[in-house]
């Protein structure tokens, strides 16, 4: 219908963690999908751990970065290691269109939720597995953070203003961020393909491959025997561009303009940033992960706050066909929870 958001009616089960998985699902939410974030009482999203957590409080519901990233999702807290928890997730998937996960490879299988089995059991389901290296290959189990992948994908070798290659570090972890933009698109592409063929898909999204893809011209040049050197801050296509230092401050100048090298304080105060969509506000005023584009005919916005852990247990389970008594029994058994174990 005109005015409906693009993903209205799409149901997403979100087993995404930290950024790569969780923020991909958030982008689907922002385009109209219903997203149920599933966490275990023994294994909540580790973004819930934060420096300011105070014992004796519900610290797990107060993590600024978790709440920033996961605002608006319905919250189911269920023990996937318990057969009853697994069964509930399977019932949830029966009514779902998309599953997003970025566990370490092999963890889904350890829950009895191997993608190949899910693909067979739910032929219309789009399963997005986001990982460092991909589902297959000799390095599939390699451990890494985003910055490790910058190194192994070719980005670090070509990055750096000094003698050493440079990685972005823990404040950026570029592959973890950019994969969300790509994964959300791949999932929508898979929904379009399902519209064409009736078939879901298992999408195997390697963050390392995406990082190399975004250097495609450099790999082609290398294959042709013309590899690029590390160019520092120089862009050969912008010969008039300079990075200049004035005391503590740096500035980029180029024909027709210039730009200050901002830190976070300057960015947060900048009018162009405040008018933009990179960081938005939840209805309660708390900062919320923004939306990286806008639509003219279908306004995208942050419409809901972050739900506390397990806040939607009853509603989600009822929708999956569980009776009041069954839900109460799972609560009593600790399969459903609203508090992390040890919390």
């Amino acid at each position: 219908m005109p005015g409906d958001l693009p993903l209205a009616g799409v149901r997403v089960v979100d087993l995404g963690w930290i950024t790569a998985g969780a923020a991909s699902s958030t982008l689907l939410l922002d385009m109209g999908a219903d997203v149920v974030k599933v966490e275990g009482p023994g294994a909540p999203d580790s973004f819930r751990n934060w420096d300011g957590a105070e014992p004796g409080t519900d610290w797990w519901n107060r993590s600024p970065f978790f709440n920033f990233t996961n605002r608006g999702k319905r919250a189911l807290c269920i023990d996937l290691k318990d057969p009853r928890g697994r069964e509930a997730v399977l019932r949830l998937l029966d009514g779902a269109d998309v599953l997003v996960e970025n566990f370490r490879r092999g963890v889904m299988a350890s829950f009895g939720l191997a993608p190949a089995m899910l693909r067979e059991r739910f032929p219309r389901l789009v399963i997005a597995s986001i990982s460092s290296q991909g589902e297959t290959g000799p390095d599939r189990d390699m451990v890494s953070f985003g910055s490790t992948l910058e190194a192994t994908a070719g980005l670090a070798a070509l990055t750096g203003a000094g003698e050493a290659p440079v990685i972005t570090g823990r404040d950026v972890n570029y592959p973890d961020q950019v994969v969300c933009l790509f994964a959300a698109g791949a999932i929508i592409a898979a929904l379009l393909e399902r519209d064409r063929t009736g078939q879901g898909a298992h999408l195997d999204l390697s963050q390392r491959e995406l990082t190399s893809f975004l250097l495609g011209e450099e790999i082609i040049a290398a294959a042709a025997g013309a590899p690029s050197p590390r160019r520092g801050n120089r862009d050969p296509a912008e010969p008039g561009e300079r990075l200049e230092r004035n005391g503590e401050a740096w500035r980029v100048t180029f024909p027709g303009g210039s730009a200050p090298v901002r830190d976070g304080v300057a960015l947060a105060a900048a009018a162009d940033f405040l008018r933009g969509t990179a960081v938005l506000r939840s209805p309660d005023g708390t900062p919320a992960k923004g939306i990286p584009f806008r639509f003219t005919h279908r306004a995208l916005s942050v419409t809901d706050v972050c739900h506390p852990l397990g806040a939607d247990n009853r509603a989600v389970m009822a929708e999956a066909g569980y009776t009041e008594q069954e839900i109460a029994a799972l609560e009593a058994a600790g399969v459903l929870a609203t508090v992390p174990r040890g919390g």
């Binding site: 972005t168 950026v172 862009d235 947060a268 279908r298």
Partner: protein, 332 residues
């Protein structure tokens, strides 16, 4: 039997060659490149002056451009006439060449209702705080990410918006601001001040991850406090346990020179492969700094059929174990 092709039958107009500014042109061209990867018929008209990337670095030995080869793979030369399902460009190009396309994806510096001043990718990274947070600790200069990460990220976002608009049906214009996308990527800096009252900066006390020389190149030293006992065990130098300057993660970060004094010679004496194997065996997330030339021989990429013999990367998604195939066409 053809493989998956979610945009089969869709015609996409790539106005990257008509964008007035280079970041917009790169972003639009990347968006259209991804559409081609998803099976769309992508038409890329060029102005009378020719393909704007035709002479851009990296250059091949015959003087042609690897940038052109990469970004325009799978696209067809043609004109802006006829029916298109979607068009991608900047405000001017869309206004002039794509009045009838139901879906438009419009690239700008700041957004739909703002002026579009002269801008470069380095300028955008500077404004979004991404330039300032990357690099060796201050006072060293900041470092731009190699290649065209700012414009390409916006192109990836633009493709996601385009796919969503096609699925929604009807008329839609998606606006993609280069600044918004870059700041969105850089959210820990952008939101740090707002969320926590602190913004991370490139202070020596903060830059915990860096690269250091090994026998045959560099390694990326990436680790958390919990990895330290395993890291220490691999290196096997008692000073890593006894030196008070190295007792905690913040201390090791602040005292990088003292840390390097101990671990530097060990790294310099071992190859990247030896170090990676030893660290990964203990689940420490170090990785080798790998050059594009080396990626061509990479066992993981080979096993996954990711790179063609000419270095052309596949669309970075496995689809039920298959790669999506790009049409052999090339615009220009």
């Amino acid at each position: 039997m053809a493989g998956p092709a979610p945009l089969a039958g869709r015609r996409i107009l790539d106005l990257g060659a008509f964008c007035a500014q280079r970041p917009h042109a790169l972003a639009a061209s990347m968006c259209a490149r991804l559409c081609a990867g998803y099976g769309a018929k992508v038409v890329r008209p060029v102005p009378a002056t020719g393909e704007p990337f035709a002479r851009d670095e990296p250059l091949l030995r015959d003087g042609t451009s690897a940038l052109d080869r990469f970004l325009n793979a799978g696209k067809q030369a043609g004109t802006a006439t006829g029916r298109f399902d979607a068009a991608i460009g900047d405000r001017g190009a869309l206004g002039e060449h794509a009045a009838t396309a139901p879906v438009k994806v419009r690239i700008s510096v700041f957004g739909p209702d703002e002026p579009d001043p002269p801008m470069t990718e380095l300028g955008l990274a500077a404004l979004a705080g991404l330039l300032g947070i990357v690099g060796e600790p201050m006072p060293a200069p900041p470092s731009r990410l190699a290649g065209h990460q700012v414009a390409y990220s916006a192109g990836v976002a633009a493709c996601t918006a385009l796919l969503a608009a096609l699925r929604a049906g009807g008329e839609e214009t998606a606006d993609v601001s280069l600044l918004d996308v870059t700041a969105w990527l850089n959210w820990k800096v952008a939101a740090g001040v707002i969320v926590t009252g602190r913004a991370p900066t490139r202070e020596a006390e903060r830059v915990a991850w860096f690269t250091l020389p090994a026998k045959d190149g560099h390694m990326a030293l990436v680790h958390q406090d919990k990895d330290w006992p395993n890291f220490r065990a691999v290196i096997g130098d008692p000073r890593l346990e006894s030196d008070p300057r190295l007792a905690t993660h913040p201390l090791r970060t602040a005292n990088r020179a003292a840390l390097l004094e101990v671990i530097g010679p060990w790294f310099a004496a071992h190859t990247r492969a030896e170090i990676t194997a030893a660290m990964q065996a203990r689940r420490v997330p170090l990785g080798p700094v790998t050059w594009p030339t080396e990626l061509l021989e990479d066992a993981q990429y080979r096993a996954r059929d990711f790179l063609g013999a000419d270095g052309m990367p596949a669309l970075p998604v496995g689809w039920d174990g298959q790669r999506l195939t790009l049409e052999a066409a090339h615009a220009g």
